[in-house]
């Protein structure tokens, strides 16, 4: 156990090593990848060399295909994520406030969560057609549950003493929500958002697997079926990139919204 300087005590920082950290992990991974293909540990058609993937990337980028599929997926993801978030937070809020509601709804919600998409794929196709709607729905379903549980935990973690304060000030339900519950639950909500944003990508892809003629999920399937492993990897890396950007956006939001936490770490010393 060692004492470090307090963050709020005047202090010098080393920014360089910190800024490099995110790239370090990637670099190591890239080198490892190159190494594996060089050593021919797996045949090239299972793990193609970085070079081949890069070539395919450039090629699909230039012929515009990558872009088209990416736009499709991102669009559906955006809508699905948004709807899933709203639904998750809204229902989570109601459940947090009402234990009975939780007991009533949890069997249904849990059932939906644990049902494989293939089981309700026909319904999906019949209800929502083969267009974007069905993908938006799968995305929404993926995002919904993590956001719901974290909202429940977040809202329930609001200090009762601050609730009292708000009551004594006759806060309306809406004020209670916006001025107390949301900011107090913010760290947990953002945790849920990090999760949801990342999972939303896979949500759309699952939908695209059931039936689609565009989107990165479709591209993955197409590439798999035509044994074009480099193309699989291009699509997958694109998915990973999107997910990473989403994650980064939430992390940025976190940095902004939770600035007070680091400024208040008065007694912080590890």
């Amino acid at each position: 156990m060692q004492i470090t300087m307090l963050s709020r005590q005047v202090n010098l920082r080393m920014p360089s090593s910190r800024a490099l950290a995110p790239y370090l992990g990637l670099l190591v991974l890239l080198l490892l990848w190159e190494l594996i293909t060089r050593l021919k540990i797996y045949p090239e058609f299972i793990i193609p060399p970085p070079r081949a993937v890069f070539d395919t990337f450039v090629q699909t980028l230039l012929d515009g295909r990558l872009w088209t599929h990416t736009v499709t997926t991102v669009g559906q993801m955006g809508i699905g994520l948004f709807l899933g978030l709203v639904a998750g937070v809204a229902l989570g809020y109601l459940i947090a406030k009402n234990h009975m509601l939780e007991q009533m709804l949890s069997p249904i919600i849990v059932a939906i969560q644990s049902t494989p998409v293939v089981a309700y794929a026909p319904l999906l196709v019949i209800w929502f057609g083969t267009g974007p709607t069905s993908k938006i729905v799968t995305c929404m379903l993926t995002v919904f549950f993590p956001m719901l549980t974290n909202t429940v935990v977040g809202i329930r973690s609001v200090p009762p003493s601050l609730r009292d304060l708000m009551h004594s000030l006759r806060a309306t339900r809406w004020q209670m929500f916006t001025r107390l519950e949301v900011p107090a639950a913010m760290p947990i909500l953002l945790g849920g958002l990090k999760l949801s944003a990342t999972l939303s990508v896979i949500g759309v892809v699952v939908g695209e697997f059931v039936s689609a003629n565009a989107g990165l999920g479709y591209l993955v399937k197409l590439a798999r079926d035509s044994y074009n492993t480099p193309l699989v990897m291009v699509a997958v890396l694109m998915l990973a990139l999107i997910a990473r950007l989403m994650y980064g956006a939430v992390a940025l939001l976190e940095h902004r919204l939770l600035a007070w936490q680091s400024r208040s770490r008065r007694q912080n010393s590890l």
């Binding site: 797996y42 045949p43 026909p122 019949i126 083969t130 039936s211 003629n213 079926d225 035509s226 044994y227």
Partner: protein, 356 residues
């Protein structure tokens, strides 16, 4: 029994009556006779292809177009036995819908699992054989839900496996459970042209270094197919152990057991019975079954018979260069592969049992 080599055989989908010939070969000991202890393994076809190509498995079921696509992408696999002699894909359409020729499909809404896999390949080839292209239809992806989607009237026709969905839809229609549809008919790809369908594949290394093993495998497989063709009732009964969902009520079992025994005796007495005769016997068997049993009970048996039609040929397992070339042309048209390859390297008839 002396030493048997362990072999894990990669198969697509899940246990299914369409694999009856393999179950028959297992149950009748053809594999162990060839010195092979066979374990079956089910999974996604591309996964199986990669496993075989990487040498993790030595044999598996792979369809012809997958062999070509995989080879085009550096996977050294090779077909050694063309199990399905006819490509199983077709287009199903309701009777009395005014559709009579493939050309009548122009402008109609046609369902397809997706723009991938055997159905898509089959469709493209079927259209090409009729001087049409994809853009002549309103193609709609529906996943593997053709019966459902067709019965609710969301599509006017659908690309399907001829062994399966048409029977499903017909059964539903017969139950009055398929909307306005009273029955369906099928355009079979094999009536227009042919592609290479399910084959037994191995990797080039095994084919080159262990010909005896391949030979044994192929001959056991072949015996199974032959046996199923000749005695489908027996094949159906033997499959019951492997296919959990196989309907086998007692009365059907009794019936089939009797039929199987009768057929066995017949075959013993007539070792040289030719294809036509055996085919007639199958038709008779079905007819007498249909008198006694309802369509739901018989569905799986019918699937078996439909499959047998696709296996049967003058020389079982034999590959035609022409079919492989058509397959390649189709794949190129679809953009699945970009460069022509020497398709004769993708298959060999060398391991087929000698004709008697």
């Amino acid at each position: 029994q002396d030493e048997l080599t362990d072999q894990t055989f990669f198969m697509t989908f899940v246990p299914n009556i369409q694999f009856a010939s393999i179950y028959t070969a297992l149950e009748k000991g053809y594999f162990s006779d060839a010195g092979i202890h066979l374990t079956m393994e089910h999974g996604d076809e591309p996964v199986g292809v990669d496993l075989i190509a990487a040498g993790q498995r030595q044999f598996g079921l792979v369809s012809g177009e997958q062999v070509l696509a995989a080879r085009a992408n550096g996977r050294p696999i090779i077909s050694v036995y063309e199990w399905f002699q006819k490509y199983p894909v077709g287009i199903v359409y309701p009777e009395n819908s005014g559709i009579e020729t493939v050309a009548d499909l122009r402008g109609r809404v046609v369902g397809i699992p997706g723009r991938f896999g055997a159905s898509y390949t089959g469709l493209i080839a079927l259209l090409a054989a009729n001087d049409m292209t994809e853009s002549d239809l309103q193609l709609q992806e529906i996943g593997f839900n053709a019966p459902e989607v067709m019965c609710v009237g969301a599509v006017e026709a659908a690309v399907i496996y001829v062994t399966n969905e048409p029977l499903q839809i017909n059964n539903r229609a017969a139950d009055g459970d398929c909307g306005d549809i009273t029955g369906v008919e099928v355009f079979r790809l094999s009536d227009f042209t042919n592609l290479v369908s399910n084959t037994v594949a191995t990797n080039e290394e095994t084919a080159a270094n262990d010909p005896d093993l391949v030979q044994g495998m192929v001959s056991a497989f072949d015996l199974g197919v032959r046996s199923a063709i000749n005695n489908p009732a027996e094949a159906y009964l033997l499959s019951a152990v492997y296919v959990e969902t196989l309907p086998l009520p007692e009365d059907l079992e009794t019936f089939l057991t009797a039929a199987a025994e009768a057929q066995a005796t017949f075959l013993e007495e007539n070792p040289d019975a030719d294809r036509e005769i055996v085919a007639e016997q199958r038709a008779d068997l079905l007819a007498s079954l249909q008198e006694q049993f309802d369509a739901d009970t018989l569905l799986q048996f019918q699937i078996l018979l439909a499959s047998i039609e696709l296996w049967d040929a003058d020389q079982l397992g034999y590959s035609d260069l022409e079919d492989w070339e058509t397959t390649q042309t189709t794949l190129i048209a679809m953009g699945y592969i970009t460069e022509e390859q020497d398709v004769s390297a993708a298959y060999t008839n060398a391991f087929l049992p000698a004709e008697e």
